[in-house]
């Protein structure tokens, strides 16, 4: 009971990959089906709510991938500023290599569907919240005030999402690299 639905997993993984590359409307059900070699009947067996339901689970899956990506660095690097910086450098690297597609992980879907599908909007919101809390938590644990940690979480998330968008649009990871490079300057409370 607990082990088999390989088909469902494959569907979610394929959808996750395609959605973060081409957004929601940019990916047809048939694209997902063809790429995964799964028949349409199976899709509607596992996802009676169709494309929207699949998308919601794909978003959750993408969220988890990113969570793991953040965790790996945060466990390795103690200083929160350095950890965030390394995280962004690693992101830039991943986008350059393209060994596996990064895309605009949640952003593409969020920007398309936030106003037309509540389930999808909520799923994206949840992902953003979780990532933000991870960033904030890192600063909190390092002794920053709750307020400051929360603010940093928002700023880091925003600058990363914006940086990915810029990098995709100009077909260069330079924006992300500049952002990573400037992180220590950005995340320093000034003392006048």
């Amino acid at each position: 009971m607990t082990k088999k639905p390989n088909t469902k997993r494959m569907l979610i993984e394929t959808a996750s990959r395609l959605f973060r590359m081409r957004g929601y409307d940019g990916v047809g059900l048939n694209d997902i089906l063809k790429e995964s070699g799964i028949p349409k009947g199976s899709l509607y067996h596992y996802f009676p709510e169709g494309k929207e339901g699949l998308a919601v689970e794909a978003i959750r899956h993408t969220k988890e991938i990113v969570v793991g990506f953040i965790e790996e660095v945060f466990e390795r690097v103690e200083d929160p500023v350095k950890a965030v910086q390394e995280h962004i450098y690693k992101l830039a690297e991943a986008m350059r290599d393209e060994k596996e597609p990064v895309g605009f992980p949640i952003g593409a879907i969020a920007s398309e569907k936030h106003s037309t599908s509540e389930p999808i909007r909520k799923a994206c919101h949840l992902a953003f919240e979780e990532w933000k809390e991870m960033y904030a938590g890192k600063f909190l644990k390092a002794g920053y005030s709750e307020k400051q940690a929360e603010n940093f979480g928002i700023i880091i998330l925003a600058v990363i999402e914006g940086g990915i968008l810029l990098s995709l649009t100009c077909k260069s990871v330079k924006p992300l690299r500049v952002i990573a490079e400037q992180i220590p300057m950005l995340l320093t409370e000034k003392n006048e």
Copy 2:
């Protein structure tokens, strides 16, 4: 010769508004036509390249709107940090009021189409470049080094684009407001 094509303008303005609200695939030609009351024949008369050509001009139009939005503040506020801060506050206000739709001005289209339409990708890239140069120019004129001004331009643009995306996704302008509030801290070169 120079005055009449009201129809073309109307098409561009309507497309600009709809695209920044719902992205590219989220808006059908028929939506634009119905909303502007213009027949399909006219669209293909003015835009023989169809939807893609119209989108490119709509992006240019959106770009110009934002340019004016930035200029207004930058002419009024001399200090670059304060000017950027006020710019973001104004943006948050505009999104809250919704007296006229803001959406995710270029981001929605860019994130959807960057990988599938070169003309659109280039148009978005151009818009981002121009905005970035405006930000950088403000700091350059205030005496910042060329390098620092350029870096600030990228960061400001990224944090704004990211902030808009977050605000749309959580249906609250709080992220943008936090970002605005933190701008002076972000854009201060630290002295250890």
